[in-house]
Symmetry: C4
Subunit: 230 residues, 4 copies
């Protein structure tokens, strides 16, 4: 199998940079209370080669360093790194192969998003934040066992019916989110947990009022085209 | 359009001070768990000119500095700053134009306050802390799209029926709070989430007992006139 | 009115020590998520004189210092300090006058304890931790307005029916706890919120199983006489 | 009774190392919000002698040091240390005597796990994380008083019916977890609270979908044999 020495200096420079970015972004999973112990992972696909950088399997977040991140190709084969990659590597790879605009994938078991996933219910769009970030309900994907690319396929198939939505709640499992880079996918993971928690709480005291479809479209268009710095 | 150079040195000195205050107060939104990622903003109106200082749009809290804050006039036009201002700028500006005693505005999507907003229910006054801080129920405002001054108008119109109350839960959206300065509005945002959480929790185990109107008045008068340092 | 100069050097030395203890213990209110903004206070009664040290009114926790604590007599009159004392000073003083073994009082609005208080329900003893710390249910006290000693009287009267219990949930208001010193009362405040949260959560998924009275007695006796370092 | 001087230098070296490990692991109980004040403890059994290292009774976590940990034999007799050992020492010792592969035991009163324990309900296996970590439901053990080895016996007897499961919810009390070392048991304690919280939340918005028994077996086998670094 190819090692990193077989790639150009440009690729090796991007690997170095992305190792740092992915390692650092795991701190955001802790900061926003999205993970416990080792139960969540971040990856980013390179711009300069068909490679990705992902968390090593079962390593506590306080021990993660840029050097401990694992580089694989988009079939999940290790290209560089001394650790075994995340159990979800084949699923991250599947997503990158089938969604070429996606350069970041995040998986967590965040509490309230996973609660929706455990019941098989999608989160109804009752918040402007959901119109902004998800463009509608947050959908549920199928139940799949861990370790193969089946989860990745479940994510891709589910999002095919929800264009523009960056999150899927895999049934009985937890959320997978995507983005234009790893930071964008981490943001989607944080937002998924926040709206999961809020709509969950709303259901305990009444009925969340649905936002009409055309208002959701307006919110989503503004958020994607005007919000933020350009 | 006018730049800051067109204003007096006194105004420029206040701008410098308020940039620091507003940047620092965003840390309190994180400290009290009122925001996720970039989803909340603080502004303060100046004493020396019809200007306000507000968060830039879509910038993560750890990257906020006094220099990244944006200065606008009370129509929302940028007067000083290198970043685009918050999406909610026109609504903050509307509030300042129509409520001259207000010099601080805060918007969050804090979890439990937003849960009440999603159901369209106001928070019933069942806590002495609510009599103190809000003088009654925390009211719900209309559903409005983001980006225009419509949300600001919704806040002002709602508070017209709740004199002395510093918070409105904008339907399907989240709380807006006001104060005599930005710190005061941040305090109201923290208190709004706390009472939203507490009364929410009370409803899960029984019926919150309403506080009689005359006791609410006594609580509110004492809190506004005696509590704190004078 | 007497100033601190009228007291012995022994008293002044204890004042200095207790100012530091009480200021530092407010950090524990934050650490265990018992308070928001300024909404909680700690006091400790001296051993060497009929004086107490209490939080100043309405001051944010990050600004508290030993020097900002206020010394009052047991009628609530300020004996030393530059700030106005807590709004609850007269109630702390009432408790110290009527319960001579109590040397620490804490008041918070912690979320779940206050939720029980809002419904007027006591917390049923369904946890060994409750048998240990409270010796039974955590009782509810009457609704009283803030600012007089009425709340202190409500605490004392309620605890008269619950000997050995260090906590009262004042109706529509929040918990007051007592202890042999301020640290002990802060501990009781942390435990009150924890059991309030746990039994609240238990009620959402079933019926908390009551612990028989004689087992509660055994738990409480062991905890008070054997637990900890002696 | 024997002191540490009666043991070999190899044993004394391991004691030194395990004192540090056990003291440090208590920080993880705080990090993952598993304990309040002093209400949880960690122990580890030595490899080189029939001894264990456990938390002292009733000492606040910020004051724990390697030197304050207590060394006992597997009957709970103190062999080394200046403090009184945890109230749960006899139960930890019982577990070690009856489960020779177990070298770590953790007890907490973590909120949601204890809520299940208060109702006497086991946590149904509706999450892949539960299949992974617990191999099925998290079972409930009997109600037992604190201070004797009865709780340890309850843990051992309950786990006899749940081979491979590292957690028991002792009724009306809280979770006990086991592991191949103390870190492994702390991990199980963190995972117990997380799944307790998630399934609890799921029950508020619907019915958690059970995972079929053969899928649980596949999840558990992969997790125990493939997950992590080998």
């Amino acid at each position: 199998m190819a090692g990193l020495a077989d790639f150009s200096s440009e690729v090796r420079a991007e690997v170095k940079q992305v190792r740092e970015q992915v390692a650092t972004l795991h701190e955001q999973l802790l900061k926003w209370n999205l993970v416990v112990w080792t139960a969540g992972n971040v990856s980013q696909r390179l711009r300069t080669a068909d490679l990705m950088v992902i968390k090593p399997s079962g390593v506590r977040y306080e021990y993660l360093t840029p050097a401990s991140m694992v580089v694989t190709d988009l079939e999940g084969n290790v290209v560089d790194g001394t650790e075994a990659p995340s159990s979800d590597t084949l699923s991250h790879a599947y997503i990158y192969r089938h969604m070429p605009d996606v350069h970041g994938v995040v998986h967590t078991h965040s509490t309230y998003a996973t609660a929706w996933a455990a019941t098989g219910r999608s989160i109804p769009c009752a918040l402007t934040m959901m119109g902004d970030e998800f463009g509608g309900d947050v959908p549920v994907g199928p139940f799949e066992l861990i370790g193969s690319e089946a989860i990745g396929k479940g994510v891709v198939d589910t999002l095919a019916d929800h264009p523009g939505c960056p999150a899927v709640l895999m049934r009985n499992h937890g959320p997978f989110t995507i983005g234009k880079d790893a930071e964008d996918a981490v943001k989607a993971a944080a937002m998924t947990e926040e709206v999961a928690h809020t709509v969950w709480a709303a259901e305990q005291i009444g009925t969340p009022i649905p936002i009409p479809a055309d208002d959701i479209t307006k919110l989503n268009n503004r958020y994607k085209n005007i919000y933020g710095q350009h």
